[in-house]
């Protein structure tokens, strides 16, 4: 018998893999940032699913998720501001235009 929280954990790991694939393969800076946000949210989902076993919602998991959402927003803000500066230099969001970005 599969319990509901197990489905959520499976969905979270699938979403993390999707996010990492997005970071690794997408050539648009905005899509890279969106992929990072997907990973952040799916880890939040993982916390919530693991914290809701046995029908009780654990306040620890919920407080962790609230804080990590706030941190994710800060990272996104910094990433977007750097992206705007890249656009000012190159007039493009294509990562292939950046000379140093080889990873």
């Amino acid at each position: 018998m599969v319990e509901p929280w197990q489905l959520y954990v499976a969905a979270a790991s699938a979403a993390i893999i999707i996010g990492i694939y997005g970071v690794a393969s997408k050539r648009n800076m905005l899509k890279t940032i969106i992929s990072i946000e997907i990973i952040t949210s799916s880890i939040g989902l993982n916390f919530l699913a693991l914290g809701s076993r046995g029908g009780i919602a654990d306040p620890l998991a919920q407080s962790i998720v609230v804080v990590s959402m706030a941190i994710g927003a800060c990272v996104a803000a910094v990433a977007l501001s750097i992206m705007i500066n890249v656009f000012r230099h190159y007039g493009s969001l294509d990562l292939r235009k950046l000379r140093r970005l080889r990873w």
Binding site: V23, I39, I43, P59, L60, S63, C74, V75, R102, W103
Partner: protein
Amino acid sequence: MEIPLLVQPLVILFSTAVLTPLIDIVGKQAKAEKIRDIFAIAGFLAAFYSLMSLHWAISSTGPQTYILGTFGVPAGGVQLTADLLSVYMGLIFCGIGLLVAIYSVRYMEVDSGLDKYYALLLTLVAGMIGVAFSGDFFNLYVFWEIMCISSYTLVSFRKYRWEPVEAGFKYLVMSTVGSLLALYAISLLYGFTGTVNLKQLSAMISSGQISASPLSLYFTIGLIITGFGVTASMVPLHTWLPDAHPAAPSSISAMLSGVVIKTGVYAMCRSLFTIFSPALFDYGTVLMIFGILTMTVANLMALMQRDIKRLLAYSSIVNIGYILTGVGIGAYALSHYSSSPRLAAPIAIFALMGAMFHVLNHAVGKGLLFLCSGCFVHEAKTRDIPELEGIGRRMTWTGTSFSIGLLALAGVPPLSGFWSKLFIILAGFSLPEDSFMKFISILVVLNSIFAASYYLWLMQRIMLKEPKPKIASAVEAPASMLLPIVILAALTVVIGIWPGAIISLAEGAGRVLLGG
């Protein structure tokens, strides 16, 4: 209200960071702009003083714990813990931060937005000290991200040039994915145990009360090593570092290479050694292999560089390799000789002491080298080594300190880098019948000889060659930039000649990792 001693450094640094922009407004009105620099330096001094008194308190009465907020058993709430290891790391972080702040007064004066620069420098150091003081895993992640966000912003501080912006974006993407992998590991650990407190996690996992299979625990260990390994710039996760460190202002490069990457090593060691007892889990082998890979690849890459700051950045990766190998030797001895703890424990303590000692030596030495190269670049306006040839003869104090730093990192006795490398290598050779450990130690020796060769080559070019006409007008850096450089150079010499006091500090720090 009395603020507990443990929270004081964090409170001082964060409140100084918030107040610096306000002080800047007041200073601009009063036509005394330097007041914000002096205010930030005063904040660092106060934090350093409170860390010193915390160190005295801990060495006389034992570790301190402070709980910020509780939400019932067994979660435990947000917990700050300080033991000898955390305070040792905290002193290194805050000390380098203080010297970098003094250096920045003159070095950064051509830039604008300096109130933000100092505020970010203060939050960077506060985040690192918070990582060192965290008693629970989620708290560690929050302080970790404070540190990371400050350093992304500082790397791309000169946003009017293309290089910092690109390097900052690359650093941000790689480091954020790494931190998120570590957060995923935290969520898995929370799923196995229902808590994020490091002490409770350690008790539950080593007593085997949990239902997780060994495979899933090893998966978690892998996530922790990968996640924190990105910031620690472990090969093959190092590719952001040679771009980000040269692109940042030199003062920030000293900060990043000197201490921020050490925070990655610290977080990795603290979480691995505390949660997963090295006698039960064999991650020492992996750490040793990655340590050797890190130093070998980075040594080969460093040879090909023409850019002085890029060469120093690769040499930082080499030194992270030494530290990782030292930590790995300790964990390997404990896990493979767990049946004879009398044999394994002294080797582990010796290896960890060497690794912790090298953290300090590399922080001082690499901080010194980046600050000196900042002076050179400031005068010559180029980072190309062939164009910088002979500049050390025009700038005597900086050049001499630069040579001392290079010799210390090359491991020339009696300078500081010699001792820590010696301890790591001796720990590796202490079990002659173990051929794997012997093989690893021989590779460490070969790598340090290889590294010494290009340090000496760089020293010969900077100090001994005839100066090119382009840099003939180079003059010595101003006194406030020379002060931190001379202090750091004196530190490497003093630690090298009288290593006893620092060795006992590093040994206390190493013992904490092994559980007291």
